[in-house]
Amino acid sequence: MFSRSVLRSLTSDLRLSAPSISTISLPQRACLHQTASLRNAQQQSQTQSSSLNPETPLSATPRAQESIPETSIHNIIPQTRDDIPLAKQPVAPTFTSPLEVTKSLMAQLPHLVGQTPHYVTAEIHARPFLLTAGDHIRLPFLMPKVKTGDILRFNRASALGSRDFTLKGSPHIDERLFECRVRVIGVESEPLRIKEKTKRRQRHTKQARSKHRYTTMRVMDVRVKSPEELLKEGAVVIEDAADSPQIEARS
């Protein structure tokens, strides 16, 4: 327990001196924080209690130290949250296994690639949007942490097709099979809505006002990757299975 008491005195010292520290001494402080977090990790492996309780000053103060210099220097907004796994957050995916494409899909894919234009049913927060290149989207919500001019990739698609062929996902198509790029154009708002709220047997009426803001976007391209491209990116051809995705031709 010696290290814990040392750490606590250290952090309390830091907290006391935090307002007076100027930006010049920042690197030093960062070093201190690093060592603190290292020790913290060691301690966590020894005693489980400190990791379980986030209210203890041990874990609370390093976080505060981290946030203060960052905002003062770069004004960086953290892009991720701790309480949600990264797979459910808008973060670029990292793949551990190569893309697996069945033989039949590989054989049919050139037909789909050859026929333009393409459409894609992209799912944003499980809401489907049928998109073609050049479309204007007004999302039904204000997308957080994006700025005007950013380029986004839509990576969940339930269907991808051209005039005569459709590749249907079960439930989603692998995101490495296609590219759907979108540019954020700006933020739009709706006209002010005023709803009159009345109660019975009262002359008084209440006005509820609402004016929501929505993110607008433009689809830059919808593209299906050709078999050669997929092989170049390291796709593996496997045998057909019962539930493997297939391209359906229009009847």
């Binding site: 949600i84 459910k88 499980a126 839509f154």
Partner: protein
Amino acid sequence: MSYFRITLLRSAIGLPRRTTDVLKALGLKKRMATVFHPVSSSAAGQIMKVKELVEVKEVENYMSQHEVWLERKPDPGYYVEKTVAQERGESLQQ
């Protein structure tokens, strides 16, 4: 240790008082609420009482409310590929 994972699918509105009380004892306050109870005869008896209203699964691990919510949360379906600042930096370099 295994648990009963109980989800209330139908509400107890219009049912006898006893049924409502059993749901309250199980900790089910509204429809689609999910609770976990260790497998025991008393829990099984309570479930028997309201078996028409709930869906029961036997699971190995207990899940918190947050984890149950995460299970239902869909993927965002997008990610930022290039920000304006990055693009501006690239164009300045050229």
